[in-house]
C-alpha cells in the first residue's frame, strides 16, 4: 500500500513537472495541440460530410413525407397521365402524385421545382411514422393558400439564404413569368435545395396540366415485399385498362443502392484527401512532441538520477500524450463539425449536379469523436513509443550531456530512404497491374508515404555536395549548421512536401481536365441552338422550324433510360442512357477513343453500337463484346466503338437512327439542335412566342459551354478546397517548426554575434539556411507531384469515373504553391529573429542550446 502511494505521488510529481515545462514553453504545447487539432478537424470535417451524404442516399424520401417503396414513371416519356394516380388512390394505394420540372427566372437562371399533392404527402408521412410529428411540429405551412393554387413555394431556410445572395430578393421569385411568394420552412422537412410547390400550382407553372412526373407508392403493410406490391399495382392498373407495360416501376431500395454505387468513387476521393490531411496534421503534432521531448532530455535524465523510476517517467509521458491528444481531438472535433457545415453545401451542389442526388441535413454522432480519438491516439503512440523508450532508456551515466544525435539521425534517414525507394519500386510495378480505382488509391497511399521518406536523405546529399564547394569561414559554418538543422526540420519538411505534392497533383488533374473538357465540348457541339421542349410540344416545334427559311439544318436526338447486359450474363443489368442521333450528328460530333474495323457499315445496319468511355471502363466492355439492351431484347448487339463522354458519369449507349425506329422506342425526338443563319435571339423569341416555350428549354452553344464549365468548377471546388486546407495545415506546421527551431538557436546566434558577425549577416544566414531547405523541398516536390498527378489522371480518375484526360502541366500553379511555402517560411523565421533582436545579448547566450 505504501509503495503504491509513493508511486502515485512520484507520478503526480512528474506530471506537475511536465505541466510546468509546458507553462514555460507554451509554444511547444500549442504546436502539438495545433497539429492534432488540424488533423482531427479535416478528418472529421470530411467524415461528417461523407457520412451525411451516404445517409441521404439511403433515406431518399418523398418531400414532406417518408421514403416510398416504389415509384412509378413512364418507360419512355417524361410524364404520365394523372388518371393513373386516381386509379391507384381510389383502389386504396397509399400514393403521392409528384411533379418535377425546371422553371426559369427573369434572368434566365434555371430552378428545379418539385411538387406533390401536399395533403397526401403529409398525411402519408404521418401514417407511416407517428414520431415524425414531434420533430416537425414547429412548421407553419400556409396550407389553405397552397391548396388553392396560390403562387407560393416552400423552401428550406438554407436554400433561401443561398437564393438571397443570388437574387437579392428574399420573399419572392419569378419563375416562368409567374411571381411566387417564398415560404421558408424548417430544415427538418428535408427539402434540401428543392423548391416545393403544391401540385395545383406546379401543373400550370410547369405547363403540365393533367400530367405527373411520377407516382410514389408506399407500402401500407410492412410484410408485403416490393415485388408483391408491384404485382398488386400492375394488377390494379391492368384491370382499370392502363397499359402497365409502358410504365417503369422503380423500387426505392434499388434507387438508393445505385446512387451509392454511382457516388462511391467521389466519396472515396474525399476520404483519401481527408486521410492525407490527417497525416499531414499528425506530422506536425509528432514534430511538436519530438521537439518538446528533445528539449526535456536533460530534465528526464536528471529526474531519473534523482530516483524516479523509468516506469513512472514512461507513464507520466504517456499520460501527457493522452491528455494532449484528447484536448486536440475535442478542439478538432468542434472545428471539424463547423468545417463540415461549410463543406456540405458544396458537396450537395456537386452531388446534385453530377449525380442528381439530394442531400438532407444530418446530425453528428458521438461515435465519430470516438473514432477520431482512437485513430489519433493509436497514431500518436505508434509514432512516439520508440522515441519515448529510447529516451527513458538513456544510460544515467551519460548524464545531462548532449548526445551526439547527428550520427543516429543519419542512420535513420538512410533507412527511411531505402524504405522509400523499395516502396517506390513496388508501386511502380503494381501500378502496371491495377484495374480498379480502389487498388490504385491504395498504391497512391503507399506512394504518399514513400515520397516524404525520401526527403531527409536527399537534403543531406545536397548539403554535403555544397559544403565541399563553400569557402572556409562563416560560409562553412552556415553549411555545417544547415546540416544539423535538417534533422529537427525534417518532419515539418516532410509534411510540407506531402502537401505540395498533393496540391501540384490535384492542380494538374483539375487543369488538365478542364482543358480536355473544353476541347471535347468544342468537338461535341456543332449546332447553334439546342432545344428540349416538353414532349407534347415537339411536333409543333418541328413544324415551326421547318417553316423558317433561315434554319439551315435540324438535328434530332432521342433518349430513354435503359439497361444493358452482356449477352453471356443477361441477369446483370447496368443502368444506362440509350441515345440515338441523326447520322450527320453522329459522324460530325462523336469523338472516338477506338473503333472497330469497318465500324460505320455495321453501325448503320444496326448490328453494332457505340458506348461511352465511362461505360466501357466501369464495366470493362471492349470492342467486339456482345451486349443486349432492355428495350431491344430480340437483338444481340456488338460494341463497335467507344467514344469520349465527359458530360455524364452514367453510361451511355448510342444506336443508329434506323435501329431506333425499328424498335419499340418513342418516335418523337427528345431534343433538337438547330443551325441558324441569322440572329439566334430572333429564333429563340420566335419559338418562345409561338409555342409558349420558356427559354429554359433552349440552350445556345455558348450557354452550354459556360454552364458545363460552371458545373465542372463546382464539381471540383470541394477537392480544391480540401487541398488548399491541407497546404494551409502544412504551412502552419512549417511555421511552427521554424519558429521553434529559430528560437532554439538563439544561443549559437548570440555567440556568433558576440564574435563579431553583424546582425544583418546573421539574419541573412538564418534566412538563407531556411530558404535553402524549403526550396530543396519544393524541388523534390516537382517530380513527385508530377508523378502523383500522372497517376491521379491516368489511373484513379480514369478507373473511377471513366474519363481519360490528357495531362497538361501547369507551371503557374506550381509557382503558386512554391510561393506559399516560401512566404510561410520567411514569416516563421523573421518572427523569432525579431524577438531575439529585442532581447539583451546575455539572455540569448543563456538560452539552452539545441
Amino acid at each position: 500500500m505504501k509503495t503504491d502511494a509513493f508511486a502515485t505521488r512520484r507520478l503526480l510529481l512528474c506530471l506537475r513537472l511536465f505541466a510546468s515545462h509546458y507553462r514555460h514553453a507554451p509554444l511547444q504545447a500549442s504546436a502539438i495541440l495545433l497539429g492534432i487539432m488540424l488533423a482531427v478537424t479535416l478528418l472529421i470535417g470530411v467524415y461528417a460530410t461523407n457520412a451525411n451524404a451516404k445517409q441521404s442516399y439511403g433515406n431518399v424520401s418523398e418531400l414532406l413525407s417518408k421514403q416510398a417503396s416504389v415509384s412509378i414513371s413512364h418507360l419512355t416519356q417524361d410524364t404520365i397521365n394523372e388518371a393513373i394516380y386516381f386509379t391507384l388512390a381510389n383502389a386504396g394505394f397509399d400514393a403521392i402524385a409528384s411533379i418535377e420540372g425546371v422553371a426559369t427566372d427573369e434572368q434566365g437562371r434555371l430552378w428545379r421545382v418539385n411538387s406533390s399533392d401536399i395533403i397526401a404527402a403529409i398525411s402519408t408521412g404521418l401514417a407511416q411514422d407517428e414520431q415524425a410529428s414531434s420533430s416537425v411540429a414547429s412548421v407553419n405551412i400556409p396550407l389553405a393558400e397552397l391548396l388553392a393554387g396560390q403562387p407560393k413555394v416552400l423552401m428550406s431556410a438554407s436554400q433561401q439564404e443561398r437564393i438571397n445572395k443570388v437574387t437579392n430578393q428574399s420573399q419572392t421569385i419569378t419563375l416562368n413569368n409567374i411571381p411566387l411568394d417564398i415560404v421558408t420552412i424548417d430544415e427538418q422537412w428535408g427539402l434540401g435545395s428543392a423548391l416545393l410547390a403544391d401540385i395545383s400550382l406546379a401543373q400550370p407553372l410547369l405547363n403540365m396540366q393533367g400530367k405527373l412526373s411520377y407516382i410514389a407508392v408506399f407500402n401500407a403493410d410492412k410484410s408485403e415485399t416490393d415485388s408483391e406490391l408491384i404485382t398488386r399495382l400492375t394488377h390494379t392498373l391492368t384491370q382499370a385498362g392502363v397499359d402497365s407495360s409502358q410504365l417503369r416501376f422503380t423500387t426505392q431500395a434499388s434507387e438508393g443502392e445505385s446512387l451509392s454505387a454511382l457516388t462511391a468513387s467521389f466519396h472515396l476521393n474525399l476520404d483519401a484527401m481527408s486521410m492525407l490531411a490527417f497525416v499531414v496534421g499528425l506530422f506536425i503534432a509528432y514534430n511538436g512532441v519530438r521537439y518538446s521531448l528533445m528539449k526535456r532530455q536533460k530534465l528526464l535524465v536528471q529526474i531519473m538520477q534523482q530516483g524516479v523510476d523509468r516506469r513512472t517517467v514512461m507513464l507520466a509521458l504517456s499520460i501527457e500524450i493522452i491528455s494532449l491528444v484528447f484536448m486536440g481531438c475535442v478542439l478538432g472535433f468542434i472545428v471539424g463539425l463547423q468545417l463540415s457545415q461549410w463543406l456540405q453545401p458544396m458537396v450537395a451542389l456537386t452531388l446534385e449536379q453530377l449525380y442528381g442526388a439530394k442531400l438532407l441535413p444530418g446530425n453528428w454522432q458521438w461515435q465519430w469523436f470516438a473514432q477520431a480519438l482512437a485513430l489519433t491516439l493509436s497514431a500518436a503512440f505508434a509514432a512516439c513509443i520508440p522515441m519515448l523508450l529510447s529516451l527513458v532508456n538513456t544510460p544515467l551515466a551519460q548524464g545531462a550531456q548532449k548526445q551526439p544525435q547527428n550520427k543516429q539521425f543519419n542512420i535513420i534517414h538512410r533507412r527511411q530512404f531505402i524504405i522509400a525507394v523499395i516502396l517506390l519500386l513496388l508501386c511502380t510495378v503494381a501500378f502496371a497491374f491495377t484495374e480498379q480505382y480502389r487498388h490504385s488509391l491504395v498504391l497512391l497511399g503507399a506512394l504518399v508515404v514513400a515520397i516524404p521518406l525520401l526527403l531527409p536523405q536527399c537534403l543531406h546529399w545536397v548539403v554535403n555536395l555544397l559544403s565541399a564547394a563553400m569557402p572556409k569561414g562563416l560560409w562553412q559554418y552556415v553549411v555545417a549548421e544547415t546540416k544539423e538543422i535538417i534533422a529537427p526540420l525534417a518532419l515539418a519538411m516532410m509534411a510540407i512536401l506531402l502537401a505540395l505534392c498533393a496540391n501540384i497533383a490535384m492542380n494538374t488533374l483539375v487543369g488538365s481536365f478542364e482543358i480536355t473538357l473544353k476541347k471535347w465540348l468544342d468537338a461535341r457541339l456543332h449546332a447553334d441552338l439546342y432545344i428540349r421542349p416538353n414532349p407534347n410540344q415537339m411536333e409543333a416545334l418541328i413544324i415551326l422550324l421547318a417553316k423558317d427559311p433561315k434554319v439551315e439544318a435540324t438535328y434530332e436526338q432521342w433518349t430513354v433510360d435503359s439497361s444493358l447486359s452482356r449477352a453471356k450474363t443477361p441477369q446483370t443489368q447496368v443502368p444506362i442512357n440509350l441515345v440515338s442521333r441523326d447520322h450527320l450528328s453522329l459522324t460530325d460530333t462523336t469523338v472516338f477513343k477506338t473503333t472497330a474495323d469497318n465500324f460505320w457499315p455495321a453501325f448503320t445496319a444496326g448490328h453494332s453500337i457505340m458506348i461511352s468511355e465511362p461505360l466501357s471502363i466501369k464495366y470493362q466492355l471492349n470492342i467486339g463484346d456482345k451486349v443486349q439492351l432492355s428495350q431491344l431484347q430480340q437483338h444481340t448487339l456488338t460494341v463497335g466503338a467507344i467514344y469520349y463522354d465527359y458530360g455524364n458519369p452514367k453510361g451511355e449507349v448510342l444506336i443508329s437512327q434506323s435501329l431506333w425506329r425499328q424498335s419499340p422506342l418513342p418516335t418523337k425526338p427528345f431534343s433538337l439542335a438547330v443551325n441558324y443563319q441569322g440572329e439566334l435571339s430572333t429564333l429563340q423569341n420566335n419559338i418562345s412566342q409561338q409555342l409558349n416555350l420558356s427559354s429554359a428549354y433552349m440552350y445556345s452553344q455558348q450557354r452550354i459551354k459556360t454552364e458545363a464549365i460552371t458545373i465542372f468548377n463546382k464539381t471540383f471546388s470541394i477537392t480544391v478546397v480540401l487541398n488548399s486546407l491541407t497546404l494551409l495545415v502544412a504551412a502552419i506546421g512549417l511555421f511552427s517548426a521554424c519558429v521553434m527551431l529559430t528560437q532554439a538557436r538563439q544561443a549559437p546566434l548570440a555567440r556568433l554575434y558576440a564574435l563579431g558577425v553583424s546582425r544583418n549577416q546573421l539574419r541573412l544566414m538564418v534566412v538563407v539556411q531556411m530558404l535553402f531547405i524549403v526550396l530543396l523541398t519544393c524541388l523534390v516536390a516537382l517530380p513527385m507531384g508530377a508523378l502523383l498527378g500522372y497517376l491521379l489522371i491516368h489511373k484513379v480518375t480514369l478507373q473511377a469515373f471513366g474519363w481519360s484526360i490528357a495531362m497538361i502541366w501547369d507551371w503557374a500553379a506550381y509557382g503558386q504553391v512554391v510561393v506559399i511555402a516560401i512566404i510561410s517560411c520567411l514569416l516563421a523565421v523573421s518572427l523569432p529573429l525579431y524577438w531575439q533582436t529585442r532581447k539583451p545579448l546575455i539572455s540569448s547566450l543563456q538560452q539552452e542550446a539545441l
Binding site: 386504396g92 399533392d117 396550407l143 388553392a148 395545383s200
Partner: protein, 379 residues
C-alpha cells in the same frame, strides 16, 4: 352529432393530436403574424367570411344532403350496431368531414386546375368489438376524382371509402370502407323520413344561442353486409344511424367538450342526447330529441326545460387518450326515461389526427337497447 370531434378539433386552440399539431398548429406568436393561414388560426377566429347558421331556414332535400362549401365545417356520419353471423356484437363508424380552408369570398388562383381547391376532406372509420377497436383515417383535398360529395346519384367519397346511393336520396345506399387491417361493405336502407334536430334543423349549442349548427338525422336504418377483420370475413346485420351537420362555428370559447349519445330503445323509439361541458355544472348545456319511426319527435333542452335532462358519469376509465366516463346514468323526466349506459369496449379511443373516444354502448334501465357514444375533450 359527431360534431364534438370536429368542433373540438377546430375550435379549441389547444390541439394535442399528432396531425393537428403537425398540420395546423402554430405558436401564438406565429398566429399573430400570420392571419388566415392555418386551420388552428381559423378555428380560433370567428367564422368571418363564412355563412352563418340562422334560425328559420328551411332545409331542402335532396339538395341539403350535398356539401355546403360556404360553411366552415361539415360531416356525414354513420354509426351502426351490428351482429355477426356468429352472434358477436360489432360497432361500425364512418365519418367524412369537410373543412373549408378559406371563406367562400376568397377566389381560387386557377379555376381550370382540378387540384386547386379550398376544401379539405378527412374521413375516419372504425370497427369495434368487445376486445378490439380498429381505426383508420384518410385525407384528401376536394378533387372530383379523389374526394367529393356529388349528386345523381348521391355519392360521398374519399378515394376508396364511399357512400354510394342509388338515387339523389340518401337511401338505398352502399357504404364501402377499405383498409389493410379491416374493411366493410354495408347495404343501407331506410323508409323513414329524416329527423330535423333542434328547431326544424337549427340546433343550438349553448343556452344563449350564440353558436348553432344545421343538424338532421336518420336514426332508422336497416343494415346488412360484410365485415372483414384481419382477413376474416363475416356477414353482419343490424341498425344504423346517420347524422348530417354543418356550421361555421360550433363551440363557444368557454365550452370544453362534448358527450353525445345515439340511443335505440326497445319500444321502437330513438333518443339523441348531448351535453356540452362548460366550466361548471351550471354552465353545461343539455339537448335531446326523442324520435319515432313516423318522423315525429320531441325536443328537450336545458334552456327551455331546465332540470329535465340529467346526464351523470358513473364509471371512469383511463385510456391511452385520457380519463373517460364509460358508464352513464341518463334521465329525462318528461319522457319517463331513466337509463344506464355501458361501453361495449372501454378502450375505444380514436387515435387519429384528431383524437376522441367513440364506440358502441349497451342500454339498461327503463328501456333496453344499443347505441353509440362520443366523448371529446377529456385528457
Amino acid at each position: 352529432m359527431t360534431s364534438v370531434t370536429g368542433k373540438k378539433v377546430f375550435s379549441i386552440s389547444v390541439v394535442t393530436m399528432a396531425f393537428a399539431t403537425l398540420l395546423f398548429a402554430c405558436s401564438p406568436a406565429q398566429e399573430a403574424h400570420e392571419p388566415s393561414t392555418t386551420i388552428s388560426n381559423m378555428s380560433a377566429q370567428s367564422s368571418a367570411g363564412y355563412s352563418d347558421v340562422v334560425q328559420g331556414k328551411v332545409l331542402q332535400f335532396p339538395r341539403d344532403h350535398l356539401a355546403h362549401n360556404d360553411y366552415k365545417i361539415e360531416w356525414w356520419y354513420l354509426t351502426a350496431n351490428l351482429t355477426t353471423s356468429k352472434g358477436e356484437d360489432v360497432g361500425v363508424q364512418w365519418t367524412q368531414f369537410r373543412i373549408g380552408m378559406t371563406p367562400p369570398t376568397e377566389q381560387l388562383a386557377t379555376t381550370e386546375n382540378d387540384w386547386s381547391s379550398n376544401q379539405l376532406y378527412m374521413a375516419h372509420a372504425a370497427v369495434t368489438s368487445k376486445d378490439a377497436h380498429l381505426t383508420a383515417e384518410k385525407w384528401s383535398r376536394a378533387h372530383p376524382k379523389l374526394a367529393s360529395v356529388s349528386p345523381s346519384p348521391f355519392t360521398v367519397h374519399l378515394q376508396n371509402w364511399q357512400w354510394q346511393s342509388q338515387s339523389d336520396d340518401l337511401f338505398p345506399a352502399t357504404l364501402t370502407v377499405n383498409n389493410p387491417a379491416f374493411h366493410y361493405q354495408l347495404q343501407l336502407t331506410s323508409q323513414q323520413p329524416v329527423q330535423l334536430q333542434g328547431d326544424s334543423g337549427y340546433s343550438s349549442k349553448s343556452a344563449d344561442q350564440a353558436v348553432a349548427s344545421y343538424y338532421y338525422s336518420q336514426p332508422f336504418i336497416d343494415v346488412t353486409g360484410e365485415i372483414t377483420r384481419h382477413g376474416v370475413t363475416e356477414k353482419v346485420s343490424g341498425k344504423a344511424w346517420l347524422d348530417r351537420e354543418w356550421s361555421s362555428q360550433f363551440l363557444t370559447k368557454a365550452q370544453q367538450g362534448w358527450d353525445w349519445f345515439s340511443l335505440r330503445l326497445n319500444d321502437g323509439s330513438t333518443l339523441m342526447a348531448f351535453r356540452l361541458r362548460g366550466d361548471t355544472e351550471q354552465d353545461h348545456f343539455y339537448s335531446a330529441r326523442r324520435m319515432y319511426a313516423d318522423g315525429s319527435g320531441r325536443n328537450i333542452n336545458s334552456r327551455d326545460n331546465p332540470g329535465d335532462i340529467d346526464m351523470q358519469p358513473t364509471q371512469w376509465q383511463q385510456t391511452a387518450l385520457g380519463k373517460h366516463p364509460i358508464a352513464w346514468r341518463i334521465s329525462i323526466n318528461s319522457e319517463a326515461i331513466d337509463l344506464t349506459t355501458q361501453a361495449v369496449n372501454p378502450n375505444s379511443d380514436m387515435l387519429v389526427s384528431t383524437s376522441y373516444w367513440e364506440g358502441p354502448i349497451n342500454i339498461q334501465g327503463s328501456h333496453q337497447g344499443q347505441g353509440y357514444m362520443e366523448l371529446t375533450g377529456y385528457r
